[in-house]
Amino acid sequence: MDATLIGAIIHAILVASTPLVFAGLGALIQERAGVLNLGIEGLMIVGALAGFVVALSGQPLALSVVAAAGAGAALALIFAILVLRLEANPVATGLALTLFGLGVAALFGAQYVGASAPPVKAWSIPVLSDIPVLGRALFAHDPLVYGSVLLAIMLWWFLNKTRGGLILRAVGEDHDAAHAMGFSVIGVRFLAICLGGAMAGVGGAYLTLVQTPMFVEGMTAGRGWIALALVVFAAWRPLRVLLGAYLFGSVTILQLHSQALGISIAAQWLSMLPYLATVVALVVISARGVQGTSAPASLGKTFRVSR
């Protein structure tokens, strides 16, 4: 296999992984605050449509991304109100969010099917992008790819090095203790859900703005579920989400190029890998129960102040 092909494949893997990075981090921040949101898929597709519509109207990329984040946060707000204020079951509410998001995006997006977003210019990083093979593969991407890496690092820093991150983790690990210490459990979770929704929205928008770049009904194609799997796979750590996303993204690309690479098994077997890997990771993590690798202790539990 020649070097150009390897470079192209690495480039494609980063592009395929970027929506997963954003959506995975969006799921992660919520889960670290103790919120299990199964609506990531719905948040992604709504973000995908919002970003696309703004891009079609000739606005710059930054504004499209803001629109996608806003749409994701707005939809996530419904989830937050239902789960936090009305104490609705989070599992079912997340599912409703996915159904609703997919439906609304298809309904209002039908008129945009067939249109194509203006191309996003790559930012070639000087010097680094001149490295043979790897330079073009790693350092000649659109701004969102760099943004996703930056976001993972920032989230890691926030969770582990700041007071705000400590409070968020406290709320996720033991909401009663956090409440007793005077922190607003509901407030922290509201913020986490809206921020997570915004990130998932941007992840969806990456599909319509860069990767495809057009809008089709149901185009997130299960990536929201993969993102949830990714968080488990990454043992709830932001930087591992980044690595996991690239691993899952590689599987997708491997599948596309499996014939060119001389792999002769059915594509479906390869597609199963991320899901199976997640189950295995989940079992290993749950069985070991090693501190720092297990799920946030209050994940998915309803918090009531009166208790």
Partner: protein
């Protein structure tokens, strides 16, 4: 200020109040969406809900769609009562359809009364095997059954795809990813002359009654309920949590698998890559709409099945995307979950006492 105040006593009509409020709000929001799309709500609703049901064919199709929803909804309402979150019923349905369909193909051409029961059994066992994976991992390693069953749903869909593209493909089918048509001995009889309504609906009704009986009369139903509502109390009473997890998931797998094989033998008549329009996920809405009462799953399943019929009609006669079905289902579930607070709380004006 409007605020929530806990009810001193929860009566049965408070549950139906919540459901009525949710249905009212859903109808209002759907009407608003129609107005937003430039359609007249009343005549649109008439065209997509009343007209499709005003023929024997329409009723038959309605029943065909309600059948899997009710069968799975009954199983999930039992499991959810026990606090076992089997979100992967869709995967169990797909595997049940696959294994049941494979049995039917293995018995291809053989006639006799025993063929259909074997085929159905194949589906039930397939679903149970698939559901036993999250059960085992939950009991043995404490791995979340929500995530494991969900992940396995995607594996199941891919597995079905591999099989119909490969080993189970019709040898004379010009390489289309479909199995051959099942022979008559492996098909569930139809209920009507028109449409696809089949005997599976009778099964669904039987399971709803059986489920209610388990909940009301059997010790098993009671121990599952306690295990879900008060895990500590259940532990003191000597009810094993592992037992509850196994039972809930195995019932879920068995009935979802049955729903799958019923879809294949009653409705579709062959194995195709896509045997379910997310019935397994939609059945979760059905279970909640029924407020986890197995008997109430029947009207709930019929109502939600109507959203599939209405979605198809909306596509054909109003020219709006079939995704209207998902919008309706999502909204209904939102409002149901939100309105559920009215069961335990009442709305009051004024500040706290």
């Amino acid at each position: 200020m409007l605020r929530f105040e806990p009810r001193a006593e929860v009566k049965w009509h408070h549950e139906w109040l919540a459901v009525a409020v949710a249905l009212g709000l859903t109808a209002a929001t759907v009407s608003a969406i129609f107005v937003l799309l430039g359609l007249d709500p009343a005549s649109s609703l008439h065209r997509i809900v009343i007209r499709p049901l005003s023929s024997e064919y329409g009723i038959s199709e309605w029943i065909a769609k309600a059948t899997p929803l009710i069968i799975i909804g009954v199983a999930l309402s039992l499991g959810f009562r026990a606090g076992v979150w089997n979100i992967g019923a869709e995967g169990q349905l797909v595997v049940g359809g696959l294994t049941g369909g494979a049995v039917a193909l293995a018995l291809y051409g053989i006639s006799g009364w025993f063929v259909l029961p074997l085929v159905l059994l194949g589906g039930v066992l397939g679903g149970m095997v698939w559901a036993s994976i999250p059960a085992l991992f939950k009991v043995r390693f404490n791995a979340s059954e929500i995530l494991v069953s969900l992940m396995l749903t995607y594996v199941a869909i891919l597995l079905l795809s591999v099989m119909v593209h490969g080993p189970l493909r019709d040898p004379d089918g010009f390489n289309f990813p479909e199995s051959r048509l099942l022979h008559d001995a492996a098909r569930l009889p139809r209920l009507f002359d028109a449409g696809r309504g089949h005997v599976g609906f009778i099964f669904a009704l039987v399971f709803a009654v059986l489920g209610t009986w388990i909940v009301k009369r059997w010790h098993l139903g009671f121990s599952m309920k306690v295990s879900g509502l008060a895990p500590k109390a259940a532990e003191f009473a000597g009810y094993s949590r592992a037992h509850t997890v196994w039972i809930a998931l195995l019932i879920g797998g068995a009935l979802s698998g049955l729903a799958g094989v019923i879809e294949v033998t009653g409705n579709i008549g062959q194995l195709v890559p896509n045997i379910s329009p997310s019935y397994g996920f939609t059945a979760i809405i059905v279970a909640f709409l029924a407020r986890l009462h197995p008997l109430a799953v029947v009207p709930a399943g019929l109502l939600v099945a109507l959203s599939y019929i209405a979605g198809e009609a909306a596509q054909l006669s109003l020219g709006i995307p079939g995704a209207m079905t998902q919008v309706f289902q999502g909204l209904l579930l939102f409002f149901l979950l939100g309105a559920a607070i009215l069961v335990n709380y009442r709305l009051r004006w004024g500040g706290p006492h």
